[in-house]
Symmetry: C2
Subunit: 206 residues, 2 copies
C-alpha cells in the first residue's frame, strides 16, 4: 500500500464516509454496506467500494462493513485517532463561532488558542479561551507545537497571517477569509467561503 | 454551447476564478492571464484555459483576459449578475455570524431572513435582521420566493429543516450542520463542515 498514490479527491471523501459511519455508530448500528452509505451520501456504492479498497480490505462481500472496525480504520488513515490542537486566528464573528464550536468533539480536534490583534478583545473570554494578542502568535504556536490553524481574519490580512503561521510551524491551514492565499508545498490548505459554495449552486438555478 | 454538459467539478472552479479576478479588479488591474490566475489559485494555466473554453471565448492568445469583461461573463454564467435573497435557519453562533457576514456583498447574495425556534431568540435583532420564528418559515420563504437557504441548526434538526425548506420552494441549500442530508434531484446541496476539511488535511500530517 503506497499512500502517496491515493488521489487527493479520494482522500477528501474519507471524512464524509467517517462522518456517516460515526453517525450510524452513535445510533447503535453495528453493520453497514456500500449501498447504504452511498444512499446516505449521494455517492455510488461502486465508488465507495473503490475508494475504500485503496486503503485495504474493510468488508466482506455479502456481509458488509463492521461499523466500529471501519470507523477505527478510517480514523487511523486520516490520523484522527488522536486529538489535534488547533489555533484560531481572528476573534470576530466567525472566529468566535469556531472557538465555541461543539462540532469538533469526537472528530479529532480541539481549539486550544484564539488570537486577535484588537486591543479591546485581547484578554477577553471566548468560550473556554482567553483571546491572546496576535503579536505573540508565532512564538506561542511554535512553543505549543500546534500544526493546525484556522484563519478568520479580514481578506487583506489573510496572507500576512498565513505567512506567520507557516513561520510558526503550522502545516495545515483552514482559511475562512474570502481570498486565495499562497502556501509552500509542504503545507496543506483548504478554504471555507460560503459565497463560492452559493455561486456553485446558483449556476443551476433559473 | 450546451451548459448541461459541463462537469460539476468545472462549475465548482468558476467561483474561485471569479473571486480572484474580482480581487484583481478591485486593485485596479485591467488584464490578467491564465498563468497569473493559475499562480494565484494553485491551478495549472492549462486547466483554467480548458475550463473557461467550455463556456466561450474570453481572451485572445497573447493578450490575456480583460478583467472587467471576464468578471461580467462569469457572473452571468453563475447567475450572480443579480442579488439573490438568502434565508438563514438557526440563529446560534454560526447562523448569527452568517446573518452579520459582510462577505456576501458583491458576491451575489444578501441575507434577508433569519429563523430560529428558540422563543428567547425570536424577535431579537441579529445584524439588520429580526429573528423570526421557525414555525412560520415555510410560509414566509414561499411568499418571498426565496430559493436559497443556509442551514445552521443542530445535526439532529438538519433533515427536518431541509424538508421544510424544500416544501417552501428552496432550490439551493448550504448546510452547516455536521451531518449528511437528503434532497431531491432538483435541489442543489453543498456542505460546510470544518471537521471534514481538517480531517482531509490531517491525512497528510505525520
Amino acid at each position: 500500500m503506497d499512500d502517496t498514490s491515493v488521489p487527493d479527491i479520494v482522500v477528501g471523501r474519507l471524512p464524509l464516509y467517517l462522518r456517516a459511519i460515526q453517525s450510524m455508530h452513535k445510533e447503535g448500528q453495528l453493520v453497514t454496506s456500500s449501498q447504504e452509505l452511498g444512499k446516505v451520501l449521494g455517492i455510488s456504492a461502486a465508488q465507495i467500494r473503490k475508494d475504500l479498497s485503496q486503503f485495504g480490505e474493510f468488508g466482506k462481500q455479502g456481509t458488509g462493513y463492521n461499523i466500529e472496525y471501519l470507523c477505527e480504520q478510517i480514523q487511523n488513515i486520516l490520523n484522527v485517532d488522536r486529538v489535534w490542537d488547533v489555533a484560531v486566528i481572528g476573534a470576530g464573528d466567525i472566529g468566535s463561532a469556531l472557538a465555541r464550536y461543539q462540532g469538533f468533539t469526537n472528530r479529532g480536534f480541539r481549539v486550544t488558542m484564539v488570537f486577535d490583534s484588537n486591543p479591546l478583545k485581547i484578554g477577553q473570554q471566548e468560550g473556554s479561551h482567553i483571546i491572546q494578542e496576535s503579536a505573540k502568535m508565532v512564538g506561542s504556536i511554535r512553543k505549543a507545537g500546534i500544526k493546525i490553524a484556522m484563519i478568520a481574519v479580514p481578506a487583506d490580512q489573510a496572507q500576512i497571517v498565513a505567512d506567520q503561521l507557516i513561520e510558526a510551524g503550522v502545516k495545515a491551514i483552514l482559511n475562512y477569509a474570502p481570498t486565495s492565499i499562497a502556501v509552500p508545498n509542504d503545507v496543506s490548505l483548504q478554504h471555507i467561503d460560503p459565497s463560492t459554495h452559493l455561486q456553485h449552486m446558483t449556476y443551476y438555478l433559473d
